[in-house]
Symmetry: C2
Subunit: 453 residues, 2 copies
């Protein structure tokens, strides 16, 4: 059976997915302003041989619920939220192997400067950086940037496709292998004949410039994507190396995984060129009983008002207008499909009610929490891999960092004993660690490779 | 006599001001890709009680000389150049007091995301961040961003003035003091009544959004500026807390310093609210003779072709078209005035020739190198402060990091013995360290204060 890959899921803010947990006396998420908190977390994850820390991000606030940002501000529902990229250099200095997947919204990052930021991170981390490509979905973010609202959903992906070609050209094409000579004798640092400008006149972007950075270990960072709409999945099939999905029913996730691999194959990629991760909320204890007691303790802190603020923004509908037993109407936008699909898999027979939705978001979010001692959790994770063909899990934080410490101390040894989890990190870049036998750089079957000479 | 303030001047690239030094066997600037290099440098500077590390930056390449970027690429003249901001978190984690001034070009940083980046850095460093405000001057950068050329010089400053009002409103006005409650009992993280959106409809920017970050120790980072044109100086008089000037003649620098303080006073600020730093290239040895030998050794590595590439871009004229003894024609743009003014102060009687210019840029740049043992250097620095009223120096790197180690080990103790240099860091933020007796935040006389409630 294949080895389980593991990402921790966090965000540079006090309230990420499980709203209210910052109130728990052992929770340290309100220490997000301190570098020590992040370097400590990185060391915990590296001790647990996690493949990566995946950092979510959002530009904008959740202001759909009650038509106001106030509930989100009150409960720290992803606001305040600091820049995630700036955490990585300090964590990279504190670790040797841990990967870092960072979310960046390409709608608001000029590609030239963004390409430089990612190359810089890839250099400083020695090839341990990934990029979760998002296009944003909040009108509040658009208003922050001086627009009235977001572009339409499918248009955003068209822009994103063009954006990707630009950054690929900078990362893969501008500096040829061998361009950097660094010869102290002759004084030639780089050979200009092997450095060329990216000249681009597109529908959304224009550029005429060389990439400012010499080639980094991975050139293109490991590419993550989480879109679950039809257009989002096409985008992932073309670009992504790691895809995140959410879902509570194994058959439905199995169907999603199969569809993702099929779509990649249809584009000439290998089905194993894409790793699929499913979101998981795990509460581990030394015994099942201890874990259940811990879960009940955590639940006492769940913030239902915060959960409604979060859910309303994710779904794009003001849940304040619904009674507790009203069914939630489906509206087809990317975020809504993603979130409702995940939740609805628990109730495939009928529409989900507001009460159920709130329960779901209050602790567990888009996942059914897995609660138990090491055996029970290992059993459940193994069942997920066997029945859905996912490659690994993205562990949402509950009470942090103890949720990650518990997993590393209690569950990892059990998974190792079953031969399901690595005993040590592989050498090489994040891409090489995730894809054994691959090179540090993207395979030739990836569209970025067309920009190479 | 006042205490001398000290910034180290560096850049996230192999070739900064003194072209060719990366070729020296003891120079480590080509290690700029390694975090260890930067955390080591930060520790050296903190041991030497430097107030700050000032990080230059440029978006774009130097392609004026010979009408091509090739000479700059060949000699690593500020290309490749990585993002400077991403160095700071790792250096902040490795130090406790050292400040970090980072150059960011506001023409290419959307204000909403940029304000968040700076707040994040200010949080993570516990209030040790400064921002060197630049508007850019390279057409190559504009072309990288999809434009044909830069905006006109004075227009850039008009945009910059509006940009500053926006980021001030985010930093100073969006979250009132006391907005962050962080009450684990009630579950209130922040009081929405004390968080308000920034609503702005200007000539160049629109925004309707709250700042994403809770207030950081300094709120607005310490503001640095280096413009030397009339319009640039007006901008500095309004906004800057630290101004960098270049010049080789003490009387001319004295006149500049006086003009800067006067302009600030004319805008209702206190003359001591602005610190003026002058650029300096210093080669220190245990004795004068050792220092002179070291300087001659360094000079052997000076890259004259690289110096011409750098000078041509800085001046906006292709020096390949000039003979060695041709006088250089003055053209009035911001960068040109800044650079030629600095160089011309050596030859106030006549125009500078290409040969002289190249000599100047090849080692020393815009400064006459100060070479000597501790006594001679201390004498010269003391004379600069006495005769020009500058508050301190920005030390350009030569062979790095030994140039900073030499200064810390040899010169600092001598300055301390004369009572010209601190014996220990003051507590508090960078602003409090630079301005004894001031608060962590900008004084009420600064225009940013008008955005407070």
């Amino acid at each position: 059976m294949k080895q389980i890959r593991l990402n921790a899921f966090d965000m540079n803010c006090p309230g990420h997915i499980q709203q209210g947990m910052w109130r728990h006396s052992r929770d340290r998420s309100a220490d997000y302003l301190n570098l020590d908190y992040w370097t400590g977390l990185a060391r915990i994850l590296e001790r647990g041989l996690f493949d990566g820390l995946f950092l979510a991000d959002v530009l904008g606030v959740y202001d759909v619920y009650q038509g106001s940002p106030d509930p989100a501000i009150r409960g720290a529902v992803q606001v305040p939220v600091n820049d995630p990229m700036l955490l990585i250099p300090a964590m990279a200095a504190a670790t040797r192997h841990l990967g870092f997947g960072v979310t960046a919204n390409l709608s608001f990052e000029p590609p030239y400067a963004f390409a430089r930021r990612m190359s810089t991170l890839d250099h400083l981390s020695r090839g341990r950086v990934g990029w979760n490509i998002v296009t944003g979905y909040l009108d509040s973010a658009a208003r922050a940037m001086g627009l009235e609202r977001q572009r339409a959903h499918d248009d955003r992906y068209d822009v994103a496709d063009e954006y990707m070609e630009l950054v690929y050209a900078l990362w893969e094409g501008s500096w040829a292998d061998g361009a950097v000579v660094r010869d102290r004798e002759t004084g030639v640092y780089a050979d200009p004949a092997l450095v060329r400008p990216v000249r681009h006149q597109g529908a959304h972007f224009q550029m005429d410039a060389i990439h400012l950075c010499e080639p980094s270990p991975q050139r293109t960072p490991v590419l993550y994507q989480a879109g679950s709409s039809e257009r989002g999945r096409q985008f992932a099939a073309r670009h992504a190396e790691c895809v995140f999905v959410n879902g509570t029913s194994k058959p439905m996730v199995a169907a999603i995984v199969a569809a993702i691999r099929e779509a990649a194959v249809a584009r000439g990629r290998d089905p194993t060129d894409i790793l699929v991760f499913v979101g998981a909320t795990i509460v581990a204890g030394a015994t099942d009983a201890q874990a259940e007691a811990k879960f009940r303790d955590y639940q006492r802190y769940a913030d239902r008002e915060g959960a409604l603020a979060h859910a309303s923004a994710s779904l794009g509908i003001d849940l304040a207008r619904y009674g507790p037993d009203d069914p939630i109407r489906m509206v087809k936008t990317d975020a809504i499909v993603s979130n409702l699909q995940a939740i609805a898999t628990r109730r495939p027979d009928r529409a989900i009610t507001k009460r159920e939705l709130t329960d779901s978001f209050a602790l567990g979010g888009r996942q059914t929490p897995i609660v138990g001692g090491p055996e029970r959790i290992a059993d459940e994770l193994q069942a997920w891999v066997r029945e859905t063909d996912v490659d690994g899990f993205v562990l949402a934080r509950t009470v942090t960092p103890e949720c990650f410490e518990d997993f590393a101390e209690l569950v990892v040894p059990r998974l190792q004993a079953r031969g399901l989890y690595k005993e040590a990190y592989a050498e090489g870049t994040l891409r090489q660690k995730l894809f054994p036998g691959h090179a540090a750089r993207l395979p030739a079957s990836h569209p970025a490779a067309s920009h190479r000479r």
